[in-house]
């Protein structure tokens, strides 16, 4: 079945296969998630995340309140890097954001059963959503100190940068070098593209992958991103924007009464997304299906983001089964969009879980992470317990999940994940 697109008219760029509207009949160009690699403060792997989120004793957020006090972050669990990045030389050439991403990518490839399969990896297309890499904070503050009162600050800056910067640090900073390292370490070489642009690029990456699969422009995709929250330069950036949440911590919805704000979490999330025909031919077991994904933007005048979300949802209406659906929200905690999204979701009336309450906000990685949790939940047929008091429990069977991705500044995305 050819895909339907409604791109040029109202701006929403959407992939919904005809099959999606026909009561979710299987089609060969359906986009299936066949592998999830997810690492965060909650653990390593999909099973560890499910165990943490679904704990019988109730969910407990993992926070580091000391390293960046009065701010806080959801820190990455220790990773057995050697298991995914066997060469120490490769590990040394990367900074944490890349190690997290390369590790998560390896876990996704493993879960999909393609790791080490040169023929499949050679035909695999990769789309990475990335920001920039870590800086050398020690060198930076030493240089800034030296520049205080320097007679010729320009020349001094040149000399110090030439002497103090590690030559290989550049390669750990470049946005496209997460993808580059995934090619090097895991051998994904069909193609390599990196998208940039904060939260929306995570959704764009998923959209482009699904649209290409629907149109026959690819069969096997590796899509995702990583975010290292434990970075003073990122804290500084959002502090300039007046967006950092200070301690004490509260959930995404609960913190809104006290001004809201962002609490970042270190996350690596990669998905193997594959056409149904390709997955069937190699006997891969799908976790879930991405039945639709839509992206758009607006200037964020009051109500505009809601308008985009409503249009996106209308595009899925034939496929959405409200009785068995819930929402995994990507709300960041930034006050204005979070409040607008909360109101829209309240009107929608489905059970909601705010992913960033559990894992922290992870910018480029946030939308793929929402999809990963949605896929895990629908494949198990149930939603995990509420993460905070205002979230309603869901006792019935879960067959579908909507995933929202409203950027803290710009961009609105919505996906519909269904049982495979």
């Amino acid at each position: 079945m050819p895909p339907e697109h409604n791109g040029a008219v109202d701006g929403t760029r959407s992939v919904v296969t005809d099959d999606a509207r026909r009561a979710l009949v299987d089609g060969p160009r359906d986009a299936l998630i066949t592998g999830i690699g997810l690492v965060s403060s909650l653990g390593d792997g999909a099973a560890a995340h499910w165990a943490a989120l679904d704990a019988s004793i109730g969910f407990h957020t993992v926070l580091d309140t000391e390293q960046f006090a009065p701010w806080m972050v959801h820190p990455m669990v220790p990773l057995a890097l050697d298991s995914q990045i066997p060469k120490r030389g490769d590990q040394r050439q990367m900074e944490p954001w890349q190690r997290i991403g390369v590790y998560a990518a390896g876990r996704a490839l493993e879960a999909a059963g393609v790791k080490g399969d040169a023929a499949l990896l050679g035909a695999m297309d990769m789309i990475v959503a990335a920001g920039g890499g870590e800086r050398d904070y020690a060198a930076e503050t030493v240089i800034l100190s030296a520049l205080q009162g320097a007679a010729d600050p320009g020349t001094l800056l040149n000399e110090r940068l030439l002497n103090d910067l590690r030559p290989t640090l550049f390669l750990a900073q470049l946005s496209n070098l997460l993808a580059g390292n995934i090619s090097l370490v895991h051998g994904v070489v069909g193609s390599s593209r990196t998208l940039m642009g904060d939260e929306p690029c995570g959704a764009d990456a998923v959209h482009v992958a699904c649209a290409r699969i629907a149109a026959g422009q690819g069969d096997l995709m590796l899509v995702g991103g990583s975010y290292n929250a434990e970075r003073p330069d990122l804290l500084l950036h959002y502090e300039m924007g007046g967006l950092n949440r200070r301690q004490p911590w509260d959930g995404i919805w609960g913190r809104q009464v006290a001004g809201g704000g962002l609490v970042f979490g270190s996350v690596g999330c990669f998905l193997v997304i594959e056409s149904r025909a390709h997955a069937a031919a190699r006997g891969a077991v799908p976790v879930a299906r991405i039945a639709g994904v839509a992206t758009d933007r607006c200037r964020r005048q009051p109500g505009q983001a809601t308008g985009n979300a409503a249009r996106q949802l209308a595009g899925f209406s034939g496929a959405l089964d409200r009785e068995s659906a819930a929402v995994l929200s990507g709300a960041s905690g930034a006050p204005l969009p979070t409040e607008e999204e909360r109101a829209w979701l309240h009107a929608l009336g489905l059970p909601v879980r705010a992913v960033a309450t559990a894992l922290g906000h992870s910018l480029e990685a946030a939308f793929p992470t929402g999809l990963a949790l949605a896929a895990m939940a629908v494949s198990r047929g149930r939603l995990f317990a509420p993460l905070e008091a205002v979230e309603a429990p869901m006792t019935g069977t879960l067959r579908q999940a909507l995933v929202t991705g409203w950027g803290h500044w710009r961009g609105e995305a919505l996906a519909l994940v269904t049982q495979a």
Partner: protein, 434 residues
């Protein structure tokens, strides 16, 4: 599918994608006319850096764009301004997306933008330190304290990765989420490929594909310098970029931008737009050999060119001109020749292959878009821009690089190569209007 419809489709049955508007800006000047005049006259845009002090630097030359100014210069600020200028030229030529009398534009399709990674620069850090009242030993706590005053909110927005994308989408009224891409030196090619694919799958009828890069600042220059990637032949500046010469010693950083309005042929025809050229094919292939070096057997770049030709549905014998990646690093030019000789066989040495970078330098993330435009101008004018500074041929590279002087040639199909750090390679096939 009617006969008429078939006319609008390529050999694979997909919508044919054509170019109807182009805008370009480099160190040679602003606009197609000035650039083409300089490019075919063998003029170099490489000059001594005057934007910041050059004391202590090993490389003191670059293709800076100094004639475009912005308040509070930074890589994203100047990159955004250059993008605006090239988009304006492209929209005017295509006569699309402009609302008469209105302040904004209303482009009827998405934006695909290649741009450099964004991060706060030294000027901003120094401003934060000054505002913090830090004593002799500066810490991040000092800068955080200054940041918390709220007086640097403009830095926050300026140094978001999404800011250039969103500002351009606001200004030009492009539709949907603006897509930003970076595949290092192949980025401009990737932006075009994303647009071509979107039109082929019927997602849109028109797209705006742009590459922009204005990242010549001390830290960016020094980072490339520390990788030993840059030419240190500083005197005279215009001699530094020497693709294919035996004495080439690195690339020259440069700034610029290129914008292409691309459309389905059916859409362009229906609105009576003039077709400037055809985007016949795109190929890509990632390399997993090394972070900055190509696989010694050249297989990835060979596959990249072969994929592009297959996508375009043309044979190697039909290629009349190669717009080289041609950075002028010892490694790149050697590997590019290896790839070209494998793909084109005995004809390789007879196909003209010239490097625009000999004159404009390496415009990095913009290069793929800028050089696609120059390739289309090459086809349109029937004139091959030269590779300048070709004084000492490298016997290991028996290329016809159109040495030093432009020459006339009929070009029906051209390819444009872009190979990036991180092993990301893109090749475009461009054709004359049908």
């Amino acid at each position: 599918m009617g006969d008429r419809d078939m006319d609008y489709r390529d050999g694979h049955g997909r919508p044919t994608v054509v170019v109807t508007g182009m805008g370009v800006l480099t160190s040679l000047g602003q606009g197609q006319a000035d650039n083409w005049r300089a490019l075919t006259a063998g003029v170099s845009g490489i000059r001594r850096i005057s934007r910041f002090p050059i004391g202590g630097l090993k490389t003191t030359v670059a293709g800076t764009v100094d004639f475009v100014t912005v308040p509070e210069i930074s890589a994203p600020a100047l990159s955004e301004r250059i993008a605006e200028l090239v988009i304006e030229e492209a929209l005017a030529e295509a006569a699309i997306g402009q609302q008469a009398g209105a302040s904004g534009s209303d482009f009827p399709g998405p934006l695909f933008l290649a741009f450099p990674p964004v991060e706060m620069e030294w000027a901003q850090r120094i401003a934060l330190v000054a505002a913090s009242g830090a004593n002799e030993t500066v810490t991040y706590d000092d800068m955080l304290r200054a940041a918390g005053t709220g007086q640097f909110k403009r830095f926050y927005e300026r140094f978001l990765f999404g800011s250039i994308l969103e500002h351009l989408a606001d200004r030009f009224g492009t539709k949907g989420s603006p897509i930003g891409t970076n595949t290092a030196c192949a980025s401009g090619g990737t932006a075009i490929q994303l647009g071509v694919e979107a039109i082929r799958r019927g997602e849109c009828e028109a797209a705006l594909c742009v590459g922009t890069d204005a990242s010549i600042n001390p830290e960016s220059l020094i980072r490339f310098s520390l990788l030993s990637a840059l030419s240190t032949r500083n005197d005279p500046p215009e001699s530094a970029a020497r693709p294919f010469s035996k004495d080439r010693d690195g690339f020259v950083m440069a700034e610029g931008g290129g914008a292409l309005v691309i459309e389905s042929l059916a859409h362009a025809t229906a609105r009576g737009a003039a077709v400037l050229g055809v985007l016949e094919g795109c190929g890509e292939r990632a390399d997993n050999f090394h972070r900055t070096r190509s696989s010694p057997d050249g297989k990835p770049i060979i596959a990249c060119m072969q994929h592009a030709l297959a996508d375009a549905g043309i044979a190697p014998e039909q290629v009349d001109y190669i717009n080289a990646h041609g950075t002028g690093t010892p490694e790149n030019d050697k590997m590019e020749w290896l790839g070209v000789s494998a793909v084109f066989g005995e004809r390789a040495g007879a196909i003209p292959i010239s490097s625009n970078k000999s004159m404009i330098g390496h415009t990095l993330t913009a290069a793929g878009a800028v050089e696609a435009i120059f390739s289309l101008l090459t086809i349109r004018h029937g004139r091959l821009p030269p590779t300048i500074n070709y004084d000492t041929p490298d016997p290991a590279l028996p290329v016809d690089c159109v040495p030093n002087v432009a020459r006339d040639a009929q070009v029906t199909h051209a390819i444009s190569n872009s190979f990036g750090f991180g092993g990301q390679n893109v090749c475009l096939v461009l054709g004359a209007p049908g």
